[in-house]
Amino acid sequence: MNGNLHIWLIPLLPFAGFLLNGILGRHLPKALVTIIALLAPLAAFGVVVNAALLAFSPMELRSWNGPGPIPGLLSLPYIETCPVGWINVGAFHIDYSFVLDQLSLVMLLVVTGVGLLIHIYSVGYMKHEEGYYRFFAYMNLFMFFMSVLVLAGNALLMFVGWEGVGLASYLLIGFYFQKTSAADAGKKAFIVNRIGDFGFLIAMFLLLANFGTLTFSEIATKIGMDPGWNGGVITVIALCMLLGAAGKSAQLPLYIWLPDAMEGPTPVSALIHAATMVTAGVYMIARSHAIFDHSPFALGVVAIVGAATALFAATIGLVQNDIKRVLAYSTVSQLGYMFLGCGVAAYSASIFHLMTHAFFKALLFLAAGSVIHGMGGEQDLRKMGGLRKKMPITFAVTTIGVLAIAGIPPFAGFFSKDAILYAAFAQGGTFGLVLWQVGAITALLTSFYMFRLWYLVFLGESRSHDAHPHESPWSMLGPLVILATLSTCGGWIGIGRFSSFLKPSVGLKTLESSAALEIPLMAVAGAIALVGWFIAHFFYKLKPAAPAQLATSFSGGYKLLLNKYFVDEFYGYTVVKPLLGISKYVLEYVVDFAILGGIAWLMGGIAMLSGAILQRWQSGNIRSYAAWLAAGAAAVLLFVLVPWSAVWPVAFDFLSKGSGH
């Protein structure tokens, strides 16, 4: 059955919510604003769930076993196209077309599901904030653009969503715009993303030039038909796309905006800067996997970028003292994992990790929000401690989140992280082995810094005297409990089943499980997570003085990590300062003031001078006007009456003869 699912409602319902709350919200009562803000994602989620249930009914899913396609009533991909085209120029057509396939379905379930939970959470979290309606208008706007991004059937429509989520992100990071740091962080995110968008745009131009279309399915068909498409221009396109993805998904070298984005309200960090928007880069690579599959070089670069980012961000996360910054660096690190998965062409493992990461990272951020809420705005880990008794539910769900991200079985993160590590290892060769090792070290670091956070926040004695922590309201705890359940069970789907399901969308490689290789690797991954926990236990439980001693004895390394490798300072000196200098001295003084300003003054001067001369004509003297009138009439008469065409030759003749003598 391929009836009308109305998937266009998925983006447009949140957009309606945005318009209502954005335009009228100021005048509406708070309760109504809340209802509008929650109904929009709820209805969108309903449409997605309806589509998902049609795509695979649970009854048939239960009886399904084996690698074949999962039976369903709805045959995917399901496409809805707006009857009115968007761009029609000659042979070039772009439609508003939404594609629902296995990939976008998974992504939509995550986006609308987690989005809905975070909306509910925000009702409690933002209750006392100024601009309550503004917050929810932006959140709904984000949901609109994110679902456009996910559903887009061509790169240009995806770019609309891509830019739109950037806009929503900018607006929400700078939500507390009175705070300079928040406004600056918003600008930083927007500007750094522009660098990535440049790559995306170039990739689109190259696609148009080489394939004449931007529709993903057509590009995939065209690449598949001609085996000549390998390397070369495909590599360039893929690398440009990687630049775009690295900007949006905070990979090296463009990750710097994400930690600063924590200036936004915590639900925003959870929704946009952990669960959904930052995974858009991974989604984009998976969506255009046909291009990456035909360029092993670009895939290798993706893997290297991912692995390097994962390790790099994890090391910074070790020593950060701001609870949200720790989580931000861990997000960058986990996104690195997803890129690593894409880089070894294990797209389904990447998307699997994307999904579980959305669950446990949203959970961790929201739990951190609950902690911050309970501590009255305190974000410094060093001033927390002993919250286990005061906030028992937050403690319980955070524990699940920490266990999940650390990769301890049977929680969700273990399965997805293991799938990526396994895919890296299975790639074989030295390259695969190095990738696996980097991934494993990162897993160790992840486990360590997450348990460090856990110990510092919840265990031990309270290190703050003026805070009176209290448990959060149920509108905040409810979503936390649901997310905790998902973080526990989300991995049980199993990568085998998951990649079979995604196979029609992301093609090529599915992870065939081979018990002989997989079980030792699983054991190693589990052991690594436990070792990380043990180290954290040693440092923060058994010998609480040890971290400080270690920091003093390795003060150089500690300072390097604490200051995030001085990357911001490095960019400041190598990119920002020269750019500002060029802007000020070359562009402003020379180009703007001297050249453009000079031309403008010259033009003005000519106009004024000629005006001053011509002004004398308008003397007001009637006889002078009359004389000019008569002179003009005489000139016209002369022009009309004298046969010039006959006169000129005679005159020339006369003159030339005269000079001849």
Binding site: S619, G620, N621, I622, R623, A626, A627, A630
Partner: protein, 108 residues
């Protein structure tokens, strides 16, 4: 010699020369005279010079259009004379002069 014979005896050119001469007088008067009323009369002279050539051609081609045109011109000239004289009186009242060279400002 009756009227018709007279008209046939006087050639077309004479009428036209007379018309041109009158027009030229009008132009020169308009340009050199300093009294506003004289300037005004010069305009009337130019109008009537044109009228004369209209009538001449109407007779020459036996077309009545030219004569109708003359009536139009006379009518406009009469209206113009009325408005113009009113303006001249207003100007004289406010400025106590009719010398065109001294009436060169819109504002007083």
């Amino acid at each position: 010699m009756n009227l018709v014979q007279f008209q046939q005896a006087v050639p077309l050119e004479w009428y036209l020369i007379l018309s041109a001469t009158l027009f030229a007088f009008g132009v020169v008067g308009f340009l050199i005279k300093r009294n506003l009323i004289t300037v005004f009369m010069s305009i009337e002279l130019m109008l009537n010079a044109v009228n004369l050539s209209f009538v001449t051609f109407a007779h020459q081609w036996h077309a009545v259009k030219g004569q109708i045109f003359v009536f139009f011109v006379m009518m406009v000239a009469a209206a113009e004379a009325a408005v113009g004289l009113a303006i001249i009186i207003a100007v004289f009242r406010t400025r106590a002069t009719l010398a065109v060279d001294r009436i060169d400002r819109m504002k007083l």
